[in-house]
């Protein structure tokens, strides 16, 4: 029988300042040197980190009521619309939302200098943000218009709630076409001019727990510089994909929906982003601790860049038009080296996700746990894994035939 630890035992060690906490990078060397069994005995927690553009992010806000009261029909923050089809002064500002007057791709490629992600960064940077709202007016909410300035500290509530973050692996993006294209995977030069990729690889949370044994609903995490939680599996969560012998998916698979108090977060770890020709987004910093419950978790958390493969996908035709073009796989060691060989051609690699920032997140989380200010939580429910047989659907185009959803 090998080692078997419980969350409570690990937390007890954290409280006594005795827990052995290492980053996912450090765990690789420990397992290589000592083997999984001894590593599992000695190490209690492995910290992971990722800092990448995550479009499916945003924040719920409650502004408080003016006098007289208003039931907002539309609201804009620094000119960027937040969704307010919920209660009177509640709204959701999405990271990819653009200002009303953004030129978008009218002059191609557009610059997308400001969007919802920048609004969120401005809020957490404690900058004043201009609020404009309109309403139709009701007996209980008579006001029809307001223009004011808000700050994060003065509004009632602000919590980040990101429906899809921390993708477990992703595509490597290339361009087989003959013109430069502008994608969410960056600028892709024609005729296999470069290869975009976006993952922290060996540091990435879900790549260190490939079957979601410890990361589940309720897992406490580092989120945007503050403390957050895994709320649910993320949208497009698709665990039922081809995997390597080490259990690591050979492409995009699991995702996380995460939640946390925006007021605790910092502009260093929530950063507005502009992708030329594509749109606005936000870099989100996420770090997840992985308890080393047994030998299996030691083996998972020792995963190395060269053991993590991702599919090479053409973004000129293959991705946008759903054409299947087999370009093989590349691993993250090669991607991080700066050059990969695809179809016999050596091409430069373009990272989207920041590896140095991912490393810092894993280090910060390690310090939080070692100092006793951050304890681990056992998931209250697991995320669906491969045995859940989740099927990813596409959107069919059907003949509407006058159907309008009403009787």
């Amino acid at each position: 029988m090998g080692v078997n630890k419980t969350y409570e035992e690990i937390n007890d060690k954290i409280r006594r300042g005795k827990a052995v906490v290492v980053t996912a990078e450090e765990m690789i060397g420990i397992v290589e040197e000592k083997g999984c069994a001894r590593a599992a005995e000695e190490v209690d927690v492995v910290t992971t980190g990722t800092f990448g553009p995550m479009c499916s992010s945003g924040a719920f806000l409650n502004f408080g009521h003016p006098s007289p009261r208003i039931k907002m029909k539309k609201v804009w923050l620094n000119g960027v619309e937040a969704y307010t089809g919920i209660a009177a002064v509640d709204a959701y500002i999405g990271a990819a939302q653009l200002p009303e007057n953004d030129p978008e791709n009218k002059v191609y490629p557009g610059k997308f200098v400001y969007g919802g992600g920048h609004v969120i960064q401005d809020l957490v940077a404690r900058k004043p943000v201009r609020l404009e709202a309109i309403a139709y007016g009701t007996d209980c909410y008579p006001r029809k218009k307001i223009e004011t300035v808000i700050t994060l500290d003065e509004i009632n509530d602000a919590f980040l709630f990101n429906p899809r973050n921390a993708y477990q692996n992703y595509n490597c993006a290339v361009n087989l076409g003959n013109r430069t294209i502008y994608t969410y995977m960056g600028i892709l030069k024609p005729n296999l001019g470069n290869a975009g990729y976006s993952s922290a690889g060996q540091l990435s949370p879900l790549l260190n727990d490939p079957h979601y044994r410890t990361i589940g609903i309720g897992t406490r995490i580092f989120l945007g510089g503050g403390i957050g939680y895994v709320a649910w599996h993320g949208t497009q969560h698709h665990p039922n994909v081809p995997r390597g012998e080490n259990g690591v998916p050979l492409g995009g698979a699991g995702t996380l929906a995460v939640i946390g108090d925006l007021k605790q977060m910092s502009p260093e770890w929530l950063v507005g982003a502009s992708f030329i020709g594509y749109g606005a987004s936000m870099y989100v910093g996420i770090g997840i601790p992985i308890p080393i419950l047994d030998e299996e978790m030691a083996r998972y958390t020792a995963v190395k860049d060269e053991e993590i493969f991702c599919p090479v996908v053409d973004y000129s035709e293959g991705y946008p038009y759903g054409k299947s073009i087999d370009l093989g796989y590349v691993n993250y060691r090669d991607l991080k080296s700066g050059k990969v060989t695809i179809r016999g051609k050596e091409i430069p690699t373009t990272p989207m996700s920041s590896y140095p920032r991912a490393r810092r997140i894993a280090e910060i989380l390690k310090e939080w746990i070692k100092s006793g200010r951050f304890e681990l939580t056992q998931p209250v429910a697991p995320l669906p894994s491969a045995d859940a047989d989740i099927v990813l659907h596409s959107l069919p185009e059907r003949n509407v035939n006058g159907y309008n959803g009403l009787k």
């Binding site: 960056g186 600028i187 502009s274 991080k336 373009t350």
Partner: protein, 139 residues
């Protein structure tokens, strides 16, 4: 054909003259306006790239000087704002001279060597946080 980048400084009265039109029509120059701040009845400047033969450029610049426009050679620099940079490293794959580079692939950190920069501007497009900016200076 050669290219020359210059900064033209106007006085208030000179800003009323159609000088770009004259440079194109009379001196057959290809003009690319890089930056301009021209207001009626005010001083202003124009940063332009002039493309043509050496003689055409000389004659065009002399025309400007004859009008009393001050013409200075331009130097542009790329400024890398380390505090805004999130160290994704995208720029390093586009920089043709390795001025923006990930020198240590273990660390994966971006550094900027100004002396190698040829101001092509590729990094301006690919930086998601706009941490690289172009500065115009008179040489």
């Amino acid at each position: 054909m050669i290219k020359n980048r210059v900064v033209c400084f106007f006085s208030a009265s000179q800003s009323e003259q159609p000088i770009i039109f004259r440079l194109v029509k009379d001196y057959d120059l290809v003009i690319n306006i890089l930056k301009a701040d021209i207001n009626p009845q005010k001083e202003g400047y124009l940063v332009v790239e002039l493309m043509g033969s050496k003689e055409q450029i000389e004659q065009g610049v002399n025309y400007l000087k004859d009008l009393g426009v001050r013409v200075e050679p331009l130097s542009q620099t790329v400024v890398w704002h380390e505090d805004i940079c999130i160290q994704c490293g995208a720029c390093a794959s586009f920089c043709p001279t390795g001025a923006l580079d990930i020198t240590d692939r273990e660390k994966m950190e971006v550094s900027f060597d100004n002396s190698r920069c040829v101001v092509c501007g590729m990094c301006l497009d690919c930086c998601p946080t706009r941490a690289v900016k172009l500065h115009f200076e008179v040489a």
